[in-house]
């Protein structure tokens, strides 16, 4: 039989303890009026709002819009990044042509380009998608490029000794060999795309999570703002989970994953 003190110590050692305590204090503070609602809504109020927004369809619809932006931007950015990395990684001439420009681009913070993109593309969907694409291109490029250049030369030589052609070497050795690096880049690109999504959606959006947040701000609805923050967090977690899933499938040959 565990004594009450043992149970208490076991609870306080749990990883769930501090977040739950935090939520409890927050709720208590809101109930007693210590935290005014216009500063921060109570957890219970946030939960009620979340439920209401899901049932009314307001949240799913706007989430779909935001998700679509991020996905489209990501697909464009990752594709361009992969193509450029292949050009730069697989040929000396390609490297001379592509890499300097990419390195220059790297020094410019993408978000600083927002005003320019608004001038170019207006305030519709285009600048939002373009910003996400532009930002998510670089991690994929950089990692895949260095992955291609870092492919084990001994493996390449071994394969060459069996008479493989250049195209076969790329297909059987270079691309699989640089896949782990590509996936690292993809993981960075996914988290950057969500980061840029948050900022890009502040540009005069008429739908999406950013639109919800802007509206909520105007009406001092801190509960809706917190709901949207939670959704952004869930999007980030989902992106991470996606890459893990891809890694588990694509890198099944690695010993750490083999043993599982």
């Amino acid at each position: 039989m565990a004594s009450p003190t043992q149970i208490a110590s076991r609870i306080s050692a749990s990883r769930w303890f501090s977040p739950l305590l935090f939520l409890g204090l927050w709720e208590l503070g809101s109930r007693t009026g210590l935290i005014p609602e216009r500063t921060l809504a109570a957890p219970s109020a946030v939960a009620t709002t979340l439920f209401g927004m899901v049932v009314s369809g307001e949240l799913p619809v706007n989430l779909a819009v935001s998700f679509g932006r991020a996905a489209l931007g990501l697909v464009i950015g990752v594709t361009v990044g992969i193509v450029l990395a292949l050009i730069a990684g697989l040929s000396q001439r390609g490297e001379a042509a592509v890499d300097p420009i990419m390195q220059i681009k790297r020094t410019i913070p993408t978000l600083a380009l927002t005003p320019l993109f608004i001038v170019w593309f207006g305030i519709g969907e285009t600048p939002k998608v373009a910003l996400i694409a532009f930002a998510s291109m670089f991690p994929v490029y950089l990692n895949l490029y260095s992955g291609i250049r870092g492919v084990d030369l001994r493996l390449l030589e071994g394969a060459r000794s069996f008479g493989l052609s250049q195209a076969e070497l790329i297909w059987h050795v270079i691309l699989p060999g640089s896949l782990p690096s590509l996936l690292v880049g993809l993981r960075y690109s996914l988290s950057i795309s969500i980061l840029v999504l948050v900022v890009a959606e502040q540009i005069n959006a008429s739908a999406g999570l950013g639109y919800l947040i802007n509206n909520a701000r105007d009406f001092l609805r801190t509960d809706i703002i917190v709901v949207c923050l939670m959704v952004y967090a869930v999007l980030g977690l989902g992106a991470d989970w996606l890459v893990r899933l891809i890694e588990r499938r694509a890198l099944v040959w690695r010993p750490s994953l083999v043993e599982q």
């Binding site: 001994r154 493996l155 030589e157 071994g158 394969a159 060459r160 000794s161 069996f162 008479g163 493989l164 076969e168 059987h172 050795v173 699989p176 060999g177 896949l179 099944v252 040959w253 690695r254 010993p255 083999v258």
Partner: protein, 262 residues
């Protein structure tokens, strides 16, 4: 002295005369990187089905020679004849970790029956049960056996072995010697094995070449059957080590004066 050792001659014996033309033929082969001459004026013939061991210290040009024979270094304008059907087994197995074992063996093969051919080759090296294993889960000896299967599945006329057992433990190495001989007897490729292990060379080869400073410093043909070389090993080892090393290692030992405590 054992009468069978009388054939041990000094360097530069007469070239081997065989009925068939040699599979490897080098005349006056020279290889230099800038001013650094690695191999100078080397003549080499390897007969079909002959097992040649190439001994030499580090930096003697063994690997350079093997890379040329493997086609990994080009030799423009030189009198170098090697068969197009050749395969290399490196010291590190160099299996592609992202391909299952049988796909590694089948690498670069064409045709509908590549799985069957890879399977047959892997069964031959005793790895029929590891067809679908990932290379990184293999032991060193297993990986090297896969590398042998990958080389032999191509039925090469010339099999190049670049210190293939140097990284294995002694027991595994002895087993691998037996396996290599069995495979060689079954498929009869000409073999050129680079090694720095004199005993290994004596145990396996028909002929031993000693490479030093880019030249063939000595060459020994061993006529005795492989199982009966026990008596031969010691004198031959000493002779080859003498050619390889010059002085005995202990000549270089100079005892430092012992300090005298008052």
């Amino acid at each position: 002295m054992d009468a069978r050792l009388s054939f041990l001659s000094d360097a530069a014996p007469a070239p081997i005369i065989t009925a068939e033309p040699p599979v490897v033929r080098l005349r006056g082969f020279t290889r230099a990187f800038g001013d650094n001459v690695i191999i100078k004026g080397l003549d080499l013939d390897v007969a079909p089905g002959e097992f040649v061991a190439l001994l030499g210290r580090s930096g003697s040009g063994k690997t350079t020679l093997l890379r040329t024979l493997a086609g990994l270094d080009s030799a423009p304008g030189q009198d170098v004849r090697v068969p197009t059907s050749r395969a290399v087994v490196f010291q590190d197995a160099r299996l592609l970790p992202w391909k299952k074992v049988w796909r590694n063996v089948a690498l670069g093969l064409k045709g509908a029956d590549i799985r069957e051919r890879a399977e047959a080759a892997l069964r031959e090296v005793g790895l029929g049960h590891r067809l679908d294993a990932w290379p990184l889960t293999l032991s060193g000896g297993e990986a090297q056996r896969v590398a042998l299967a990958r080389a032999l599945v191509r039925e090469p006329k010339l099999l190049l072995l670049d210190e293939p057992f140097a990284a294995l433990d002694a027991l595994t190495r002895i087993k691998m010697h037996g396996l290599v001989l069995d495979l060689w007897r079954a498929h009869r490729p000409a073999v050129l094995m680079v090694t720095h292990d004199v005993d290994e060379a004596v145990a396996l080869a028909d002929r031993i070449l000693v490479l030093d400073a880019g030249r063939i410093a000595a060459q020994e043909r061993i006529e005795i059957a492989r199982g009966e070389r026990g008596d031969l090993t010691r004198p031959l080892r000493e002779k080859l080590l003498g050619i390889l090393g010059g002085n005995s290692a202990s000549d270089g030992v100079i005892p430092f004066p012992q300090s005298v405590h008052a």
